[in-house]
Amino acid sequence: MSGVLPPGFAVAEPFVADWVLPDAAARMAKRQSSRIEDLRRFYGVMLPLGEAALAHLRDFELGSVPEDSERLLKLMLALAEVAPAVEWYNDPRVYDGFPVERIRYLRQIPDTAAQA
């Protein structure tokens, strides 16, 4: 019986509902529509888990990632999206930047499918 997240990552469970998202475009939109305080809270919980999470994810080949580990991967992908907001800008938006909502993704790399 698998949990929401793999053992050892329970502290991130409160973020699963909001931050396990279908793709990069959805993660970008979520970051843009969040307050920086909420991004910092997510980042603050996820960053200390990062080393352990990637060590865990290293054991799973894309295309056969169990559901609990897939959620953990998606939280880590969201961490990649959120990182510039917290580390570079202290703002959800790119500081003084071109409006990111004006870009359209034409192609994305699937989150969990095997890659040739």
């Binding site: 990637l54 994810l57 880590m76 961490l79 990649a80 990182a83 870009i103």
Partner: protein, 415 residues
């Protein structure tokens, strides 16, 4: 820290290598005047080739993708036929002009059927079937297949021309730049993200954006600067710049600074997808990449005039492509190409790379519409180029020379 970690700051003197470029301020008219844009369309864009995809997008017979070329308002269909050849067609039904294939990509069972009235074409573009053919008045199917688009393949990239009779072959167009950068493992980076945006600015401003790094310490203080400008390169100088006909290459000097925490995770766990990766395969880079063979090299900007450049490291690359659609309007497309990830941990590195590039480009592009307003309103009539903004000076000279040559051609025709 070894000796290599403390490189000398690059000097001034790039422009002096190319005295024909001059050193004075340049007139900004080519950045906004409608009549100059109209002339560029004839003298530059209709005479160039355009990258629209890669062969890995259509590995099997029947695989296809479609592409829209905004500059020319042309729809293109690219497919692989049963013999394994790649074919490019105008994606226009010869019945009434609808697109024959409306999907961005997919697999065909051997026939493309127009969703308007059901005319069907095979993988070689032959008109295979006319629905209710007896109701027409003697259409010769052999003369009404899909019209082919001039197409060429370089290093797995599929290039097309917008005109039936290209001004140059693809090989001539790519020139020395193409020859000197062939052999890089372009095809190893099979995975890519692609996004686009419309920007109210001239196409040359989009090209200018990554073509100098003089701006990096100022415009990218927290993002690109700490990693690109470590070890005292506080003015943001290039390692080198080389001009090859209309094309050019900037080599970027860089020493890794201290990465930010999430970068550090990505660099450690998924180095192959990062632009700072040192390649583990041990191949020799072709002579046009890091031409100076500097140990402090990280990234080249390989520009193919007029509309596409590759920011390229040993392990991955991005393609910056601009589609001019007016004197002060452009479509920008970015593709971030990375190697396939095997594990879920490596997948994280791909996403980190894409997000970093995207946000840095958003920083770059903050300037474009502002500059264009200053150009359109006449608030700036000259640009002053730094020695390390050589690429911009070169682009200005190339455009100016081509337009002057075109004027001479037209005058000759009239005489």
């Amino acid at each position: 820290m070894n000796e290599l970690s403390k490189p000398p700051v690059p000097g001034i003197g790039l422009t002096a290598k190319y005295p024909e470029l001059g050193t004075g301020p340049v007139d900004t008219a080519i950045y906004h005047q409608p009549e100059i844009y109209a002339k560029e369309m004839e003298a530059i864009f209709k005479r160039s080739w355009y990258m629209i995809g890669r062969v890995e997008q259509i590995p099997k017979p029947g695989d296809f993708f479609t592409s829209y070329m905004p500059t020319f308002r042309q729809e293109v269909l690219v497919c692989r036929d049963r013999e394994g050849s790649v074919n490019a067609f105008h994606n226009v039904c010869t019945h009434r002009g609808n697109v024959v294939e409306h999907r961005p990509s997919g697999h065909s069972n051997g026939l493309f059927m127009c969703r308007f009235h059901g005319w069907s074409y095979d993988l070689k573009g032959n008109l295979a079937r006319i629905r209710d053919e007896e109701g027409f008045f003697g259409i010769d199917k052999a003369c009404n297949g899909l019209k082919t688009v001039p197409m060429g393949i370089w290093e797995g990239f599929i290039w097309v021309s917008s005109v039936d009779d290209p001004h140059q072959s693809l090989g001539e167009f790519l020139g020395e730049q193409g020859a000197d950068t062939a052999g890089y493992p372009w095809g190893d980076c099979t995975q890519f993200y692609q996004f686009e945006t419309e920007i109210d600015c001239n196409w040359k401003l989009v090209n200018d954006s990554p073509a100098e790094v003089y701006h990096i310490p100022v415009l990218h203080p927290n993002s690109a600067a700490p990693t690109m400008m470590a070890s005292g390169n506080t003015m943001g100088r290039l390692l080198d710049a080389e001009i090859k006909g209309n094309h050019r290459t900037n080599s970027h000097y860089s020493v890794m600074g201290e990465p930010k925490p999430v970068q550090k995770l990505a660099y450690f766990h998924a180095a192959a997808a990062q632009n700072v990766a040192v390649d583990e395969k041990g191949y020799e880079l072709p002579k046009g990449i890091n031409p100076a063979r500097s140990p402090w090299w990280t990234v080249d900007l390989i520009m193919f005039f007029p509309t596409i450049g590759f920011t390229l490291s040993a392990g991955m690359y991005t393609a910056h492509q601009v589609w001019p659609v007016g004197p002060n309007k452009s479509i920008y497309q970015q593709r971030v190409f990375v190697r396939p990830a095997r594990t879920a941990a490596e997948r994280f590195g791909q996403e980190n790379t894409m997000v970093e590039f995207r946000d840095v480009v958003m920083e770059d592009f903050s300037t474009l519409e502002r500059i264009q307003r200053a150009l359109d309103s006449g608030q700036i009539r000259q640009f002053h180029y730094h020695d390390h903004e050589l690429a911009l000076r070169h682009q200005h000279k190339v455009v100016t020379d081509i337009l002057a040559q075109y004027d001479r051609e037209q005058a000759g025709d009239a005489a």
